[in-house]
């Protein structure tokens, strides 16, 4: 796995329907986070577990297995949609554990860097394009991706393993941005350019402002 992905055209990113679909999903998830009620009557809120950690290896196998199941059972387009949905959902659930995170202010890069801290991924931002001081496009270079593990073989090498990851990063920013209402850019879209092949390799994501 892991070659360069075919560079996706970015024309559709500015299609009003495409942007609206993303916005509606973000708004719906903000409502979910605000109204979240656990179905476990006696569970203490996990938010009490402030900085508790678990070794990364117990998480690394979860998504690759689901990835294998989804690409085996769905068309490429539908598998990508479901993988992206997984990333968004994980982020929404994470915010429902820590709803106070929605209120944290910061620049786009600061918000994105937060994720690297939680997931122990190392990220650097390269090739920024600015317009009036606001980032319009940039590339994220990411080491130690939580979704790509060495030795995991996949049947369909044309599909990036880190689709959940790009959607996770994208949703993390978009949720915060629409909740706070005054961030620039307002919405971003992230796509995969390259997935890491082994633990020493890196992933590349293309970030683009869509509103």
């Amino acid at each position: 796995m892991s070659k360069e992905m075919a560079s996706p055209s970015s024309e559709h990113l500015h299609d009003p329907n495409f942007v609206k679909k993303i916005k509606d999903q973000v708004l719906q998830d903000i409502e979910y986070i605000k109204n979240f009620k656990s179905s476990a009557p006696n569970a203490k809120p996990t938010s009490g577990w402030k900085n508790e950690k678990a070794v990364k290896m117990i998480s690394q196998n979860i998504y690759p297995q689901i990835y294998g199941f989804l690409i085996k059972n769905f068309s490429k387009e539908e598998a990508i949609e479901r993988l992206r949905e997984m990333g968004q959902r994980s982020n929404t659930i994470l915010y429902s554990i820590y709803p106070q995170w929605l209120k944290r202010r910061g620049s786009m890069l600061e918000v994105l860097r937060e994720i690297g801290v939680h997931s122990r991924e190392r990220v650097s931002i390269i090739e920024q394009t600015l317009k009036n001081g606001i980032i319009q496009k940039c590339i994220l270079k990411k080491y130690k991706c939580i979704f790509c593990t060495e030795g995991f073989s996949v049947e369909n090498p044309s599909l990036a393993l880190c689709y959940p990851s790009v959607a996770f990063w994208q949703h993390h920013y978009n949720l915060r941005s629409l909740y706070l209402g005054n961030m620039n850019p307002k919405l971003i879209y992230i796509d995969v350019i390259k997935t890491a092949v082994n633990d020493n390799d890196y992933c590349l994501y293309r970030v683009e402002a869509i509103e």
Partner: protein, 236 residues
């Protein structure tokens, strides 16, 4: 506790701390959200793949999703745990050397806590109590049993699926399966001929005041005892 075993306990305590310190870690809540997400994503996928005309059967495939989740994860969890148990060395001492000192079933209870600490670090003290060993003669199920009290659970809270929609499964399937695999691999290594079965018999998600895992060691020549285990009739 004799002097000999206390030496290995001290070494184990240092080893688990070193192991957790040196391994890359992620936020526990992120791990929990990944668990919830993976079950929901499988449930959605199974509903879409269901060709049945019956709308009720198409909806809410949570029980099937947990079943499939466990099936998908088992081989990779076995690989991960066996890598930890048999290929990890701490301060020049292989973990399997340490494990071989816990051949006694009563002593092995300590090893379970040591393994949980290795995965969750200091927060494991918030998570679980001390593992209790019940000998076959004293156990309700007539086999050697470990009881692990769950004091607080990061996996239950983020879920929105009501427990009655899980059928015979419990929400902590992922966690209890890890303990089951760990115990099975360790007992096989210690050349004990047991079939290990673990279940979450009490769960916050079900409304219980605490969680409880039971790990039963069935001698392979007495597997018929599984039939009389009341928990296994109720919980998958």
């Amino acid at each position: 506790m004799g002097k000999f075993s206390s030496f290995w306990h001290i070494l184990g305590d240092i080893g688990k701390w070193v192991f957790f310190r040196r391994e890359p870690k992620i936020l526990l809540a992120l791990n929990a959200s990944m668990y919830v997400t993976s079950v929901l994503s499988i449930a959605d996928a199974l509903s879409s793949l269901d060709s049945s005309e019956d709308i009720t059967s198409k909806r809410e495939k949570y029980e099937d999703a947990i079943e499939l989740w466990a099936t998908l994860m088992r081989p990779v969890s076995e690989e991960m745990i066996s890598n930890i148990l048999f290929r990890t060395s701490i301060m020049g001492i292989q973990l399997k050397t340490l494990l071989s000192k816990f051949k006694d079933l009563k002593e092995f209870a300590y090893f379970i806590n040591l393994a949980i600490y290795s995965l969750f670090g200091p927060s494991s003290k918030k998570l679980v109590g001390k593992t209790k060993y019940i000998s076959a003669t004293e156990s309700e199920e007539k086999v050697d049993t470990y009881i692990i009290r769950i004091k607080s659970c990061p996996y239950c809270y983020p879920t929105m699926i009501p427990s009655e929609k899980l059928g015979r499964h419990r929400w902590g399937k992922g966690f209890v399966a890890t303990i089951e695999i760990l115990t099975q691999l360790a007992q096989d290594f210690l050349q004990h001929n047991f079939q290990v079965i673990a279940r979450e018999v009490m769960c916050f998600h079900q409304g219980d005041p605490y969680g409880e895992f039971r790990v039963w060691l069935y001698p392979r020549e007495q597997l018929e005892l599984i039939e009389v285990n009341k928990y296994l009739k109720l919980i998958k």
